[in-house]
């Protein structure tokens, strides 16, 4: 409880510091809108050109896109310390400062940054979700709403877990490893489309290694009443747990890696 209070107090303070530069904040938020709007435009163009992808109708495509946007950018807003700031914390030695305080390192890393500019990306995502839900005429039930919430929450843990891989490399080499971006940002770009349109190697990558298919596509397909691979409905509530599992594993690896942290400068 105490930790959660600390997290929200830190977030409040960081928000206050960002608003010290209102013009810059406003411009950057606008830039994010253009960026994510562009991503959505890609979906619109595909729908316009092909009408549908496999058995996925236009509404379904908007729905997938919306779920990915909301999941990914919620993580970027609230987990900015891990998704964006960690390499610079290591490089500048600011991580030392965190180690000098009687709290968990990961807690403090999460408390060290917030990225409210992404709020416009979420707005785009929510818009896509509503459009998709209407076009595909989703019959909402309590279970479906739960599946959506579970998918987003556990998907956030998955994204955090994937960024922790980068953090672990960073602790060792004091540099960020761009290769990991292939499954973080790459995963976001690829998995905003349904998994079964991809060739087998990519399907394996995004099911086993970076299991977006399990946290996002299985529940999304259930909500759209087009079960992925014809799996039974209950799987939509079980497979997203893969996100928590990946996060748990990476959390342990991260703790272990911190023992080998060697700090920089003097």
């Amino acid at each position: 409880m105490d930790t959660i209070k600390l997290y929200f107090r830190s977030m409040g303070m960081l928000l206050k510091s960002q608003l010290q530069y209102p013009a810059s904040f406003f411009m950057q938020t606008l830039a994010q809108l253009v960026m994510e709007g562009g991503e959505m435009l890609a979906v619109i163009l595909i729908v316009d050109r092909f009408g549908q992808l496999g058995h996925w109708m236009p509404g379904d495509l908007f729905f997938f896109f919306g779920m990915m946007s909301v999941t990914f950018y919620m993580t970027e807003i609230f987990g900015r310390g891990v998704t964006g700031n960690f390499p610079s914390l290591v490089r500048t030695g600011q991580l030392d400062t965190l180690l000098l305080r009687p709290r968990g390192v990961l807690t403090q890393v999460l408390c060290s940054a917030i990225d409210p500019r992404r709020i416009t990306c979420i707005a785009v995502g929510v818009t896509a979700l509503i459009i998709g839900s209407n076009m595909s005429q989703v019959q909402w039930t309590v279970l479906k709403a739960l599946a959506l919430a579970e998918s987003i929450l556990l998907g956030m843990l998955l994204v955090l877990g994937l960024f922790l891989i980068e953090a672990v490399f960073c602790i060792h080499s004091v540099k960020s490893v761009e290769l990991v971006n292939a499954i973080t940002y790459g995963g976001r770009s690829a998995c905003q489309y349904p998994i079964d349109i991809f060739p087998r190697p990519l399907r394996v990558l995004f099911t086993v290694i970076a299991p977006f298919a399990l946290t996002l596509h299985v529940p999304a397909a259930y909500i759209l009443s087009k079960p992925l691979y014809g799996w039974p409905d209950w799987t939509a509530f079980v497979t997203p747990l893969a996100g928590a599992v990946l996060f748990g594993i990476m959390y342990l690896v991260f703790q272990k890696a911190m023992q080998f942290y060697r700090s920089t400068g003097s």
């Binding site: 105490d2 209070k5 600390l6 107090r9 830190s10 303070m13 960081l14 206050k16 510091s17 960002q18 010290q20 030695g93 600011q94 030392d96 400062t97 180690l99 000098l100 305080r101 009687p102 709290r103 968990g104 403090q108 023992q259 080998f260 942290y261 060697r262 700090s263 400068g265 003097s266």
Partner: protein, 320 residues
């Protein structure tokens, strides 16, 4: 009561350097610390000096739980820093002269209030400490100013207050007076002395400013190439190297300088003649009579060698 015990501390860093030719990188091992041992009593004020890269910061980082050593034993108040990091850091405060621990864009009072939550300091205890520290450090006027708008001296005071809010038993200061003006430096030293006397805080200070050490630390440890070279009182250390004196002379109407033995180093700046000599080989009375024979002396001052020169001489002799 013994508070810090360090025995046989070792730390190595593996550095990968690019070779002059080719793409492969060469590994080399740097021994940052080799078999360093010392003990510090509770309430002691200890200076920790040595040239850049001697291993001072590495020691501080190990003692504060940031780094894990490769060998050796550390006991601070019954704790092993890197094994019980969270419990350990609750009892210590650290100030890095070149690295801020407060939040850059918010008023320092907000930073303190967040630190209170991080360290779980009870509200009344926090208020008491804050009043005490803001008075002693004269922070009252800019508690509501964001850190980035403070001058360096103000910022250092603000950092110091932040690191003492939770009432640490042990305070590490890593070059706290770097870049400060004379007034701020003196105020900082007074404050540290007072904090040490009033709360019995043990203080370990690393610095390049020998005046800091002379003013604050009855005991000094010298580190070089990762090894402890000296541990004892500063005057004793200096007396070994304090073999030279400086004599500054001015003559009436710029009379010529007399012949002096080679052991005297002479520099001349306009009217002013500066002679560095060793009283052991050239007694002062003898030198003065030599100087007098050359003309009428208008002004004559004698002074000891600057403390930095002594340290430089010491580093040279120890081959650092």
């Amino acid at each position: 009561m013994r508070y810090i015990t360090v025995e046989g501390l070792d730390k190595q860093f593996i550095v990968r350097k690019k070779r002059e030719k080719g793409v492969l990188r060469e590994k080399s091992v740097i021994h940052a610390l080799q078999d360093v041992s010392f003990a510090v009593e509770q309430g002691e004020l200890v200076g920790y000096i040595g040239p850049n890269g001697a291993g001072k910061s590495t020691t501080v980082k190990i003692l504060s739980g940031i780094l894990t050593p490769d060998g050796g034993m550390v006991d601070i108040g019954g704790r092993v820093p890197w094994k019980e990091r969270k419990e350990h850091v609750r009892h210590i405060g650290v100030v890095f002269g070149q690295r801020s621990q407060l939040w850059w864009d918010v008023p320092i009072l907000d930073s303190y209030s967040l630190l209170k939550d991080i360290y779980r300091v009870p509200e009344n205890e926090y208020q008491r400490r804050l009043t005490q520290l803001t008075d002693a450090l004269q922070l009252g006027d800019f508690l509501r100013t964001p850190l980035r708008l403070l001058s360096l001296g103000q910022r250092m005071r603000a950092e110091l207050c932040g690191s003492l809010l939770h009432g640490p038993e042990l305070l590490f200061l890593d070059e706290p007076t770097i870049g400060l003006d004379a007034v701020s430096k003196l105020a900082l030293r007074d404050f540290l002395k007072e904090e040490n006397a009033r709360n019995g805080t043990t203080i370990l200070l690393t610095t390049h400013d020998m005046e800091d050490i002379a003013a604050l630390c009855p005991r000094v440890m010298v580190l070089g190439h990762g090894k402890k070279l000296y541990d004892g009182a500063l005057p004793e250390l200096l007396s070994r190297y304090d073999t030279q004196r400086i004599l500054t002379v001015r003559y009436e109407d710029g009379a010529a300088l007399p012949e002096l033995p080679d052991s005297c180093a002479v520099t001349r700046e306009a009217e002013e003649i500066k002679i560095i000599y060793a009283p052991d080989t050239m007694p002062t009375a003898h030198l003065i009579s030599l100087l007098q024979s050359a003309g009428t002396i208008r002004e004559l001052t004698a002074q000891p060698q600057n403390i930095d020169h002594l340290i430089a001489a010491m580093y040279r002799e120890m081959d650092l």
